[in-house]
Protein backbone atom coordinates (compact mmCIF):
# COMPACT_ATOMS: atom_id res chain seq x y z
CA UNK A 1 0.00 0.00 0.00
CA UNK A 2 2.09 2.89 -1.16
CA UNK A 3 0.87 6.21 -2.40
CA UNK A 4 2.98 7.63 -5.18
CA UNK A 5 3.33 11.30 -5.92
CA UNK A 6 1.81 10.86 -9.39
CA UNK A 7 -1.49 12.71 -9.62
CA UNK A 8 -4.12 10.58 -11.33
CA UNK A 9 -7.14 12.85 -11.02
CA UNK A 10 -7.04 16.57 -10.43
CA UNK A 11 -10.30 18.28 -9.59
CA UNK A 12 -10.25 22.03 -9.97
CA UNK A 13 -13.05 24.30 -8.74
CA UNK A 14 -15.70 21.72 -9.63
CA UNK A 15 -19.25 23.04 -9.57
CA UNK A 16 -22.56 21.37 -10.27
CA UNK A 17 -26.01 22.80 -9.97
CA UNK A 18 -29.38 21.35 -10.89
CA UNK A 19 -31.43 24.40 -11.80
CA UNK A 20 -31.33 26.69 -8.77
CA UNK A 21 -29.93 24.01 -6.49
CA UNK A 22 -26.17 24.09 -5.94
CA UNK A 23 -25.07 20.51 -5.32
CA UNK A 24 -21.32 20.99 -5.65
CA UNK A 25 -19.87 24.31 -4.71
CA UNK A 26 -16.28 24.72 -5.79
CA UNK A 27 -14.53 21.45 -4.99
CA UNK A 28 -10.81 21.07 -5.59
CA UNK A 29 -8.66 18.10 -4.72
CA UNK A 30 -6.03 15.78 -6.11
CA UNK A 31 -6.15 12.01 -6.18
CA UNK A 32 -2.77 10.34 -6.39
CA UNK A 33 -1.95 6.90 -7.67
CA UNK A 34 -2.45 4.24 -5.01
CA UNK A 35 -4.60 6.39 -2.78
CA UNK A 36 -7.74 5.00 -1.22
CA UNK A 37 -10.07 7.88 -0.59
CA UNK A 38 -13.18 7.49 1.51
CA UNK A 39 -15.84 10.14 1.09
CA UNK A 40 -18.34 10.53 3.87
CA UNK A 41 -21.06 13.01 4.61
CA UNK A 42 -24.75 13.37 5.36
CA UNK A 43 -27.23 12.27 2.70
CA UNK A 44 -27.87 14.88 0.04
CA UNK A 45 -24.50 16.52 0.69
CA UNK A 46 -23.30 15.96 -2.87
CA UNK A 47 -20.84 13.13 -2.25
CA UNK A 48 -22.39 10.82 -4.84
CA UNK A 49 -22.68 13.68 -7.33
CA UNK A 50 -18.99 14.40 -6.78
CA UNK A 51 -18.05 10.77 -7.41
CA UNK A 52 -20.26 10.55 -10.48
CA UNK A 53 -18.68 13.71 -11.85
CA UNK A 54 -15.28 12.02 -11.87
CA UNK A 55 -16.33 9.84 -14.84
CA UNK A 56 -18.80 12.42 -16.15
CA UNK A 57 -21.95 10.46 -15.39
CA UNK A 58 -22.84 13.90 -14.08
CA UNK A 59 -21.79 16.78 -16.28
CA UNK A 60 -20.12 19.50 -14.21
CA UNK A 61 -21.48 23.00 -14.65
CA UNK A 62 -18.15 24.58 -13.78
CA UNK A 63 -14.50 23.78 -13.13
CA UNK A 64 -12.31 21.08 -14.64
CA UNK A 65 -11.43 17.45 -13.99
CA UNK A 66 -8.07 16.28 -15.25
CA UNK A 67 -7.58 12.53 -15.58
CA UNK A 68 -4.07 11.28 -16.41
CA UNK A 69 -3.19 14.73 -17.70
CA UNK A 70 -6.25 15.14 -19.92
CA UNK A 71 -8.99 17.65 -19.14
CA UNK A 72 -12.01 15.36 -19.53
CA UNK A 73 -14.49 18.22 -19.18
CA UNK A 74 -13.20 19.47 -22.55
CA UNK A 75 -15.95 18.77 -25.09
CA UNK A 76 -13.40 17.53 -27.64
CA UNK A 77 -12.18 14.70 -25.43
CA UNK A 78 -13.49 11.20 -26.17
CA UNK A 79 -15.18 10.49 -22.85
CA UNK A 80 -15.92 6.85 -23.72
CA UNK A 81 -12.21 6.22 -24.11
CA UNK A 82 -11.49 7.88 -20.76
CA UNK A 83 -14.18 5.87 -18.97
CA UNK A 84 -12.50 2.64 -20.06
CA UNK A 85 -9.77 3.48 -17.54
CA UNK A 86 -12.18 4.48 -14.77
CA UNK A 87 -14.04 1.55 -13.24
CA UNK A 88 -17.28 2.14 -11.42
CA UNK A 89 -19.28 0.12 -8.92
CA UNK A 90 -22.85 1.14 -8.13
CA UNK A 91 -25.04 0.86 -5.08
CA UNK A 92 -27.63 -1.10 -7.07
CA UNK A 93 -24.97 -3.34 -8.78
CA UNK A 94 -26.47 -2.76 -12.23
CA UNK A 95 -25.43 -6.14 -13.56
CA UNK A 96 -26.83 -6.97 -16.98
CA UNK A 97 -29.69 -9.37 -16.19
CA UNK A 98 -29.93 -10.82 -19.70
CA UNK A 99 -26.39 -12.21 -19.66
CA UNK A 100 -24.62 -14.87 -17.65
CA UNK A 101 -22.15 -13.74 -15.02
CA UNK A 102 -19.22 -14.55 -17.28
CA UNK A 103 -20.74 -12.66 -20.22
CA UNK A 104 -21.27 -9.68 -17.92
CA UNK A 105 -17.54 -9.64 -17.24
CA UNK A 106 -16.47 -10.32 -20.84
CA UNK A 107 -18.82 -7.91 -22.60
CA UNK A 108 -16.89 -4.66 -22.39
CA UNK A 109 -13.35 -5.95 -23.04
CA UNK A 110 -14.46 -7.91 -26.11
CA UNK A 111 -16.96 -5.49 -27.65
CA UNK A 112 -14.63 -2.55 -27.12
CA UNK A 113 -11.90 -4.46 -28.87
CA UNK A 114 -9.44 -4.63 -25.98
CA UNK A 115 -9.29 -8.41 -25.80
CA UNK A 116 -10.09 -11.40 -27.95
CA UNK A 117 -12.83 -13.75 -26.76
CA UNK A 118 -10.20 -16.19 -25.49
CA UNK A 119 -8.29 -13.52 -23.59
CA UNK A 120 -11.46 -12.11 -22.06
CA UNK A 121 -12.62 -15.58 -21.10
CA UNK A 122 -9.34 -16.33 -19.36
CA UNK A 123 -9.44 -12.95 -17.63
CA UNK A 124 -13.03 -13.55 -16.52
CA UNK A 125 -12.11 -16.93 -15.03
CA UNK A 126 -9.20 -15.32 -13.21
CA UNK A 127 -11.43 -12.54 -11.86
CA UNK A 128 -14.18 -14.95 -10.82
CA UNK A 129 -11.52 -16.86 -8.91
CA UNK A 130 -10.33 -13.66 -7.32
CA UNK A 131 -13.77 -12.57 -6.12
CA UNK A 132 -14.40 -16.11 -4.91
CA UNK A 133 -17.26 -17.01 -7.23
CA UNK A 134 -15.81 -19.31 -9.91
CA UNK A 135 -18.85 -21.61 -9.70
CA UNK A 136 -21.23 -18.81 -10.74
CA UNK A 137 -19.80 -18.28 -14.23
CA UNK A 138 -22.78 -19.64 -16.11
CA UNK A 139 -25.54 -18.42 -13.82
CA UNK A 140 -27.61 -15.30 -14.34
CA UNK A 141 -27.43 -12.27 -12.01
CA UNK A 142 -30.90 -12.82 -10.55
CA UNK A 143 -29.76 -16.11 -9.05
CA UNK A 144 -27.14 -14.40 -6.91
CA UNK A 145 -27.35 -12.79 -3.48
CA UNK A 146 -26.72 -9.06 -3.14
CA UNK A 147 -23.19 -9.54 -1.86
CA UNK A 148 -22.36 -11.91 -4.71
CA UNK A 149 -23.82 -9.47 -7.23
CA UNK A 150 -21.65 -6.69 -5.94
CA UNK A 151 -18.53 -8.88 -6.07
CA UNK A 152 -19.38 -9.67 -9.70
CA UNK A 153 -19.91 -5.97 -10.39
CA UNK A 154 -16.42 -5.34 -9.04
CA UNK A 155 -15.03 -8.12 -11.24
CA UNK A 156 -16.80 -6.63 -14.26
CA UNK A 157 -15.20 -3.26 -13.65
CA UNK A 158 -11.79 -4.86 -13.06
CA UNK A 159 -11.99 -6.70 -16.38
CA UNK A 160 -11.25 -3.40 -18.12
CA UNK A 161 -8.00 -3.10 -16.15
CA UNK A 162 -8.91 0.38 -14.92
CA UNK A 163 -6.42 2.79 -13.39
CA UNK A 164 -8.89 3.89 -10.75
CA UNK A 165 -12.07 2.45 -9.28
CA UNK A 166 -15.01 4.53 -8.15
CA UNK A 167 -17.40 3.01 -5.60
CA UNK A 168 -20.79 4.66 -5.08
CA UNK A 169 -22.06 3.38 -1.71
CA UNK A 170 -21.21 -0.21 -2.68
CA UNK A 171 -22.62 -1.79 0.47
CA UNK A 172 -25.66 0.41 1.11
CA UNK A 173 -28.13 -1.86 -0.69
CA UNK A 174 -26.86 -5.02 0.98
CA UNK A 175 -28.27 -7.04 3.82
CA UNK A 176 -26.02 -6.57 6.86
CA UNK A 177 -24.54 -10.07 6.73
CA UNK A 178 -23.29 -9.47 3.18
CA UNK A 179 -21.52 -6.19 3.79
CA UNK A 180 -18.41 -7.91 5.11
CA UNK A 181 -17.63 -10.00 2.02
CA UNK A 182 -17.75 -6.92 -0.23
CA UNK A 183 -15.65 -4.76 2.09
CA UNK A 184 -13.13 -7.59 2.42
CA UNK A 185 -12.75 -7.73 -1.37
CA UNK A 186 -12.35 -3.97 -1.55
CA UNK A 187 -9.72 -4.13 1.14
CA UNK A 188 -7.79 -6.71 -0.88
CA UNK A 189 -7.98 -4.46 -3.91
CA UNK A 190 -6.61 -1.58 -1.90
CA UNK A 191 -3.77 -3.75 -0.62
CA UNK A 192 -2.92 -4.65 -4.21
CA UNK A 193 -2.38 -0.97 -4.87
CA UNK A 194 -5.57 -0.08 -6.74
CA UNK A 195 -6.44 3.60 -6.64
CA UNK A 196 -9.91 3.84 -5.17
CA UNK A 197 -12.47 6.53 -4.44
CA UNK A 198 -15.22 5.22 -2.20
CA UNK A 199 -18.39 6.97 -1.14
CA UNK A 200 -19.43 5.06 1.95
CA UNK A 201 -21.25 4.97 5.25
CA UNK A 202 -18.91 2.28 6.55
CA UNK A 203 -16.79 4.21 9.02
CA UNK A 204 -14.81 1.07 9.87
CA UNK A 205 -13.71 0.77 6.24
CA UNK A 206 -12.82 4.46 6.08
CA UNK A 207 -10.77 4.17 9.25
CA UNK A 208 -8.93 0.96 8.39
CA UNK A 209 -8.48 0.96 4.64
CA UNK A 210 -8.56 4.56 3.45
CA UNK A 211 -5.40 6.59 3.12
CA UNK A 212 -7.40 9.80 3.24
CA UNK A 213 -10.93 10.67 4.29
CA UNK A 214 -12.98 13.53 2.86
CA UNK A 215 -15.98 15.01 4.59
CA UNK A 216 -18.33 16.62 2.08
CA UNK A 217 -21.16 18.78 3.34
CA UNK A 218 -23.26 21.43 1.62
CA UNK A 219 -21.42 20.79 -1.62
CA UNK A 220 -17.92 21.53 -0.35
CA UNK A 221 -15.09 19.53 1.22
CA UNK A 222 -15.38 20.65 4.81
CA UNK A 223 -12.50 18.53 6.06
CA UNK A 224 -9.93 16.09 4.74
CA UNK A 225 -7.29 14.23 6.61
CA UNK A 226 -5.64 10.91 7.28
CA UNK A 227 -8.16 8.53 8.83
CA UNK A 228 -6.36 8.63 12.17
CA UNK A 229 -6.51 12.40 12.51
CA UNK A 230 -9.90 12.60 10.83
CA UNK A 231 -11.64 10.41 13.39
CA UNK A 232 -9.54 11.29 16.44
CA UNK A 233 -9.40 15.07 15.99
CA UNK A 234 -12.25 16.32 13.82
CA UNK A 235 -11.98 20.09 13.58
CA UNK A 236 -15.03 21.14 11.63
CA UNK A 237 -18.09 21.44 13.90
CA UNK A 238 -20.39 19.89 11.25
CA UNK A 239 -18.06 16.90 11.03
CA UNK A 240 -17.96 16.56 14.81
CA UNK A 241 -21.74 16.62 14.83
CA UNK A 242 -21.91 14.08 11.98
CA UNK A 243 -19.43 11.70 13.61
CA UNK A 244 -21.24 11.88 16.93
CA UNK A 245 -24.35 10.62 15.15
CA UNK A 246 -22.82 7.80 13.11
CA UNK A 247 -20.16 6.43 15.44
Amino acid sequence: MSVSSEVLIKVDHLKKHFGELDVLNDISTEIRKGEVIAIIGPSGCGKSTFLRSLNLLETPTGGTITFEGVDITDKKVNVDKMRQKIGMVFQQFNLFPHMTIKKNIMLAPTKLGLMTKEEASARADELLERVGLPDKANQYPDMLSGGQKQRIAIARALAMNPDVMLFDEPTSALDPEMVGEVLELMKELAEDGMTMVVVTHEMGFAREVATRVLFIDEGVIKEENTPKEFFANPKNPRLRDFLSKVL
Binding site: Q92, F96, H98, M99, L112, D142
Partner: protein, 229 residues
Protein backbone atom coordinates in the same frame (compact mmCIF):
# COMPACT_ATOMS: atom_id res chain seq x y z
CA UNK B 1 -78.97 -28.81 -51.15
CA UNK B 2 -77.08 -30.94 -48.66
CA UNK B 3 -74.11 -29.66 -46.72
CA UNK B 4 -71.73 -31.69 -48.88
CA UNK B 5 -73.20 -30.20 -52.00
CA UNK B 6 -72.81 -26.72 -50.54
CA UNK B 7 -69.18 -27.42 -49.67
CA UNK B 8 -68.61 -28.64 -53.20
CA UNK B 9 -70.37 -25.66 -54.72
CA UNK B 10 -68.53 -23.06 -52.63
CA UNK B 11 -65.01 -24.44 -52.66
CA UNK B 12 -64.48 -27.13 -55.29
CA UNK B 13 -66.67 -26.17 -58.24
CA UNK B 14 -64.75 -23.98 -60.73
CA UNK B 15 -61.78 -24.26 -58.35
CA UNK B 16 -63.30 -21.59 -56.11
CA UNK B 17 -60.90 -22.53 -53.29
CA UNK B 18 -58.33 -20.65 -55.34
CA UNK B 19 -60.01 -17.37 -54.33
CA UNK B 20 -59.16 -18.20 -50.74
CA UNK B 21 -55.72 -19.59 -51.48
CA UNK B 22 -54.59 -16.70 -53.66
CA UNK B 23 -56.28 -14.29 -51.27
CA UNK B 24 -54.35 -15.79 -48.37
CA UNK B 25 -51.16 -15.39 -50.38
CA UNK B 26 -51.86 -11.70 -50.90
CA UNK B 27 -52.82 -11.20 -47.26
CA UNK B 28 -49.61 -12.84 -46.04
CA UNK B 29 -47.44 -10.94 -48.53
CA UNK B 30 -48.88 -7.63 -47.47
CA UNK B 31 -48.71 -8.50 -43.77
CA UNK B 32 -45.11 -9.71 -43.80
CA UNK B 33 -43.80 -6.75 -45.78
CA UNK B 34 -45.82 -4.29 -43.69
CA UNK B 35 -44.58 -5.97 -40.53
CA UNK B 36 -40.94 -5.57 -41.57
CA UNK B 37 -41.51 -2.00 -42.67
CA UNK B 38 -43.36 -1.23 -39.44
CA UNK B 39 -40.52 -2.68 -37.36
CA UNK B 40 -37.90 -0.63 -39.19
CA UNK B 41 -39.92 2.61 -39.10
CA UNK B 42 -41.02 1.98 -35.52
CA UNK B 43 -37.53 1.24 -34.28
CA UNK B 44 -36.10 4.33 -35.97
CA UNK B 45 -38.78 6.55 -34.48
CA UNK B 46 -38.41 5.00 -31.04
CA UNK B 47 -34.65 5.60 -31.16
CA UNK B 48 -35.14 9.21 -32.24
CA UNK B 49 -37.73 9.81 -29.52
CA UNK B 50 -35.76 8.25 -26.66
CA UNK B 51 -32.43 9.70 -27.74
CA UNK B 52 -34.03 13.12 -27.88
CA UNK B 53 -35.65 12.66 -24.48
CA UNK B 54 -32.50 11.40 -22.82
CA UNK B 55 -29.76 13.47 -24.44
CA UNK B 56 -31.51 16.51 -25.93
CA UNK B 57 -30.09 15.75 -29.38
CA UNK B 58 -32.09 15.17 -32.61
CA UNK B 59 -34.61 17.92 -31.78
CA UNK B 60 -35.87 18.45 -35.35
CA UNK B 61 -36.21 14.72 -36.05
CA UNK B 62 -38.10 14.36 -32.79
CA UNK B 63 -40.63 16.99 -33.87
CA UNK B 64 -41.13 15.25 -37.21
CA UNK B 65 -41.58 11.93 -35.41
CA UNK B 66 -44.18 13.43 -33.10
CA UNK B 67 -46.17 14.84 -36.02
CA UNK B 68 -46.01 11.46 -37.76
CA UNK B 69 -47.30 9.66 -34.66
CA UNK B 70 -50.12 12.16 -34.20
CA UNK B 71 -51.32 11.97 -37.80
CA UNK B 72 -51.06 8.19 -38.16
CA UNK B 73 -52.65 7.38 -34.84
CA UNK B 74 -55.28 10.06 -35.28
CA UNK B 75 -56.79 8.78 -38.54
CA UNK B 76 -58.29 5.42 -39.54
CA UNK B 77 -56.01 3.01 -41.34
CA UNK B 78 -58.54 2.60 -44.15
CA UNK B 79 -58.54 6.33 -44.85
CA UNK B 80 -54.74 6.24 -44.90
CA UNK B 81 -54.82 3.34 -47.34
CA UNK B 82 -57.23 5.17 -49.64
CA UNK B 83 -55.20 8.39 -49.52
CA UNK B 84 -51.94 6.60 -50.24
CA UNK B 85 -53.48 4.66 -53.12
CA UNK B 86 -55.73 7.28 -54.74
CA UNK B 87 -53.80 10.47 -53.89
CA UNK B 88 -50.12 9.82 -53.35
CA UNK B 89 -49.80 6.95 -55.85
CA UNK B 90 -52.56 8.28 -58.15
CA UNK B 91 -50.36 8.32 -61.23
CA UNK B 92 -48.08 5.44 -60.33
CA UNK B 93 -48.12 1.95 -61.72
CA UNK B 94 -46.61 0.31 -58.68
CA UNK B 95 -48.11 -3.04 -57.68
CA UNK B 96 -51.21 -2.62 -55.58
CA UNK B 97 -50.04 -5.04 -52.94
CA UNK B 98 -46.80 -3.09 -52.54
CA UNK B 99 -48.79 0.11 -52.03
CA UNK B 100 -50.97 -1.64 -49.47
CA UNK B 101 -47.90 -3.00 -47.67
CA UNK B 102 -46.49 0.51 -47.58
CA UNK B 103 -49.70 1.93 -46.15
CA UNK B 104 -50.07 -0.76 -43.48
CA UNK B 105 -46.34 -0.63 -42.71
CA UNK B 106 -46.38 3.12 -42.15
CA UNK B 107 -49.45 2.73 -39.99
CA UNK B 108 -48.03 -0.11 -37.94
CA UNK B 109 -44.73 1.78 -37.56
CA UNK B 110 -46.43 4.41 -35.43
CA UNK B 111 -47.76 1.84 -32.98
CA UNK B 112 -44.55 -0.19 -32.98
CA UNK B 113 -42.62 3.02 -32.23
CA UNK B 114 -44.57 3.63 -29.06
CA UNK B 115 -44.31 -0.01 -28.02
CA UNK B 116 -40.54 -0.02 -28.45
CA UNK B 117 -40.20 3.34 -26.76
CA UNK B 118 -42.09 2.09 -23.73
CA UNK B 119 -39.78 -0.93 -23.71
CA UNK B 120 -36.66 1.21 -23.71
CA UNK B 121 -38.09 3.44 -20.98
CA UNK B 122 -38.88 0.39 -18.85
CA UNK B 123 -35.16 -0.39 -18.47
CA UNK B 124 -33.83 1.29 -15.35
CA UNK B 125 -31.37 4.14 -15.75
CA UNK B 126 -28.67 2.15 -13.94
CA UNK B 127 -28.26 -0.13 -16.95
CA UNK B 128 -27.37 2.79 -19.20
CA UNK B 129 -25.02 4.16 -16.53
CA UNK B 130 -23.32 0.78 -16.10
CA UNK B 131 -22.79 0.53 -19.86
CA UNK B 132 -21.46 4.06 -20.16
CA UNK B 133 -19.18 3.65 -17.14
CA UNK B 134 -17.51 0.67 -18.82
CA UNK B 135 -16.67 2.87 -21.81
CA UNK B 136 -19.50 2.03 -24.18
CA UNK B 137 -20.96 4.84 -26.27
CA UNK B 138 -24.64 5.69 -26.00
CA UNK B 139 -25.35 3.74 -29.20
CA UNK B 140 -23.31 0.69 -28.14
CA UNK B 141 -25.01 0.62 -24.73
CA UNK B 142 -28.37 0.73 -26.49
CA UNK B 143 -27.36 -2.12 -28.74
CA UNK B 144 -25.71 -4.53 -26.31
CA UNK B 145 -27.46 -3.73 -23.05
CA UNK B 146 -30.74 -1.83 -23.40
CA UNK B 147 -32.21 -3.21 -26.64
CA UNK B 148 -32.04 -6.93 -25.78
CA UNK B 149 -33.80 -6.33 -22.46
CA UNK B 150 -36.33 -3.93 -23.95
CA UNK B 151 -37.15 -6.39 -26.72
CA UNK B 152 -37.95 -9.08 -24.20
CA UNK B 153 -40.26 -6.74 -22.30
CA UNK B 154 -42.21 -5.60 -25.36
CA UNK B 155 -42.51 -8.95 -27.11
CA UNK B 156 -46.13 -9.58 -25.99
CA UNK B 157 -47.17 -6.07 -27.07
CA UNK B 158 -45.37 -6.47 -30.40
CA UNK B 159 -47.06 -9.81 -31.02
CA UNK B 160 -50.37 -8.17 -30.33
CA UNK B 161 -49.57 -5.43 -32.83
CA UNK B 162 -48.72 -8.02 -35.49
CA UNK B 163 -52.00 -9.78 -34.92
CA UNK B 164 -53.84 -6.48 -35.29
CA UNK B 165 -51.87 -5.78 -38.46
CA UNK B 166 -52.73 -9.12 -40.02
CA UNK B 167 -56.43 -8.49 -39.45
CA UNK B 168 -56.29 -4.86 -40.57
CA UNK B 169 -55.09 -5.92 -44.01
CA UNK B 170 -58.66 -7.21 -44.54
CA UNK B 171 -59.60 -3.74 -45.81
CA UNK B 172 -57.18 -4.15 -48.74
CA UNK B 173 -60.17 -5.01 -50.89
CA UNK B 174 -61.09 -1.35 -50.94
CA UNK B 175 -58.25 -0.64 -53.36
CA UNK B 176 -59.10 -3.70 -55.40
CA UNK B 177 -56.70 -6.22 -53.95
CA UNK B 178 -57.98 -9.78 -53.87
CA UNK B 179 -56.90 -10.55 -50.33
CA UNK B 180 -58.30 -13.34 -48.17
CA UNK B 181 -61.38 -11.38 -47.07
CA UNK B 182 -62.14 -10.21 -50.59
CA UNK B 183 -61.64 -13.79 -51.85
CA UNK B 184 -64.31 -15.10 -49.51
CA UNK B 185 -66.60 -12.26 -50.48
CA UNK B 186 -66.17 -13.03 -54.17
CA UNK B 187 -67.23 -16.64 -53.57
CA UNK B 188 -70.27 -15.32 -51.68
CA UNK B 189 -71.24 -13.07 -54.58
CA UNK B 190 -71.02 -15.96 -57.04
CA UNK B 191 -72.73 -18.71 -55.05
CA UNK B 192 -75.12 -16.51 -53.05
CA UNK B 193 -74.03 -18.50 -50.04
CA UNK B 194 -72.69 -16.29 -47.24
CA UNK B 195 -72.14 -18.74 -44.40
CA UNK B 196 -69.51 -21.16 -45.70
CA UNK B 197 -67.07 -18.81 -47.47
CA UNK B 198 -67.11 -16.19 -44.72
CA UNK B 199 -66.73 -18.75 -41.93
CA UNK B 200 -63.87 -20.31 -43.89
CA UNK B 201 -62.20 -16.91 -44.12
CA UNK B 202 -62.67 -16.31 -40.39
CA UNK B 203 -61.22 -19.74 -39.55
CA UNK B 204 -58.15 -19.14 -41.67
CA UNK B 205 -57.44 -15.85 -39.86
CA UNK B 206 -58.02 -17.56 -36.53
CA UNK B 207 -55.63 -20.42 -37.26
CA UNK B 208 -52.87 -18.02 -38.34
CA UNK B 209 -53.31 -15.86 -35.25
CA UNK B 210 -53.27 -18.89 -32.96
CA UNK B 211 -50.12 -20.17 -34.64
CA UNK B 212 -48.51 -16.77 -34.24
CA UNK B 213 -49.47 -16.58 -30.56
CA UNK B 214 -48.05 -20.02 -29.89
CA UNK B 215 -44.76 -19.15 -31.60
CA UNK B 216 -44.42 -15.94 -29.61
CA UNK B 217 -45.20 -17.78 -26.38
CA UNK B 218 -42.38 -20.18 -27.12
CA UNK B 219 -39.96 -17.35 -27.89
CA UNK B 220 -40.96 -15.56 -24.70
CA UNK B 221 -40.25 -18.61 -22.61
CA UNK B 222 -36.84 -18.98 -24.23
CA UNK B 223 -35.96 -15.35 -23.57
CA UNK B 224 -37.05 -15.64 -19.97
CA UNK B 225 -34.32 -18.13 -19.06
CA UNK B 226 -32.35 -15.32 -17.41
CA UNK B 227 -34.99 -14.90 -14.75
CA UNK B 228 -35.35 -16.82 -11.55
CA UNK B 229 -37.81 -19.74 -11.28
Amino acid sequence: MTFQEKLYQNFIEDKRYLYLLNGLGNTLRITVLALLLGLVVGTLIAVVRTTSDKTGKLRILNIIAKIYLTVIRGTPVMVQLLIIYYVIFASSRADKWLIAALAFGLNSGAYVAEIIRSGIMSIEAGQMEAGRSLGFSYAATMRYIIAPQAFKNVLPALANEFIVLLKETSVSGYIGIADLTRGGDIIRSVTYEAFLPLIAVALIYLVIVMGLSAAVGKLERRLRTSERK
